[in-house]
Point group: C2
Amino acid sequence: MEIKVLRNVMVKNNAIGGDNRWRLKKNNVFTINMLSSPGAGKTTLLQNTIGKLQEKYRIAVIEGDLYTSKDAQALESFNIPLVQINTEGGCHLDARMISGALDSINLEDIDLLFVENVGNLVCPSGFDLGENRRILIYPLTEGDDKPTKYATMFSKVDLVIINKVDIAPYLNVSVEKAMEEVRKVNETCEIIALSATKPESLEDWFQWIEKESVSALQE
Amino acid sequence: MEIKVLRNVMVKNNAIGGDNRWRLKKNNVFTINMLSSPGAGKTTLLQNTIGKLQEKYRIAVIEGDLYTSKDAQALESFNIPLVQINTEGGCHLDARMISGALDSINLEDIDLLFVENVGNLVCPSGFDLGENRRILIYPLTEGDDKPTKYATMFSKVDLVIINKVDIAPYLNVSVEKAMEEVRKVNETCEIIALSATKPESLEDWFQWIEKESVSALQE
């Protein structure tokens, strides 16, 4: 059996990612690619973020899942542009999928776009979607030793959100240790500890969005 | 750029997986492929399993990680055959890696082999390593809605271990709901709820190993 692969998959992805970035920038849309393992709290964080920031920003969300539209359904009540991408078993979103999703969003009418990637701490790290910033949601329930074990992902993000810190007292883990481990593989990213279920803990995250949305659109 | 792929990767993997299975069976080794997201508790479960079963079985472990040998180090005190595979960023173990690892284990001297796969709820599901049984460690800290979202993985395992049930009271999740969700995508697998950190909760798991080790070697 012989299969000819006529293009380098990553080169093509990154070219389409570049197109996406240009298209988003032209419309002054600040785009965040949200990465994590399954069940890290991305959707919960989105719920408590959109609820708070909806008055300030016109927000849209692209949801990536292997199957189901549960995550999109969880955001339906906000009445914002929502696009569900099902990868049908695929382990990551790619730039072409995002390009297709952007076709169905009126970009002139939004300021802030969240892309919730497939829950996977390995594969999505290699794919530029055209985002301005990449963030990683890292729940302490996974243990405080993950950054060096999944170094590729941790090294390629602009912000690490250490999530579920309210559960830490019931686990044999430490927020400080988790932060130190992040620093071993990423010296420059920002690190914010919070509990996505506790709206009162999200202030630093909101400030990060405000700060980065300004600087990203000047780049 | 043109790349020729001369073989179907999966066909080749499965052929080597078949070779591994034959080689293990010839030596009466019962092999379990342990799958999960990052931080689900595979290594902790192994620690409390080896400690208990070491008197009854001669045990070996193959550890799969992108980088580091932390998981293997966590098992060093048991003084058993331990092989660390580093995938260098790769998202799953494949049959060829296992074949190489088996070369360095004296199979005549073991009864029970655990393969701890890379933490990833998507990609490892497609790769037959030559195991007798596949088990999935699914921690409640990921939420009770994951089976239908990651249906490929959940549908391809013989046993789902619902882990971290001791933390459930501090989360908005239910063991019963998690079990119902597993049944939606896998009607035949066994399901055991436990806390890998609590040795007293592991009795059903030990009985499953005993039962399956007998039946698998008669297949």
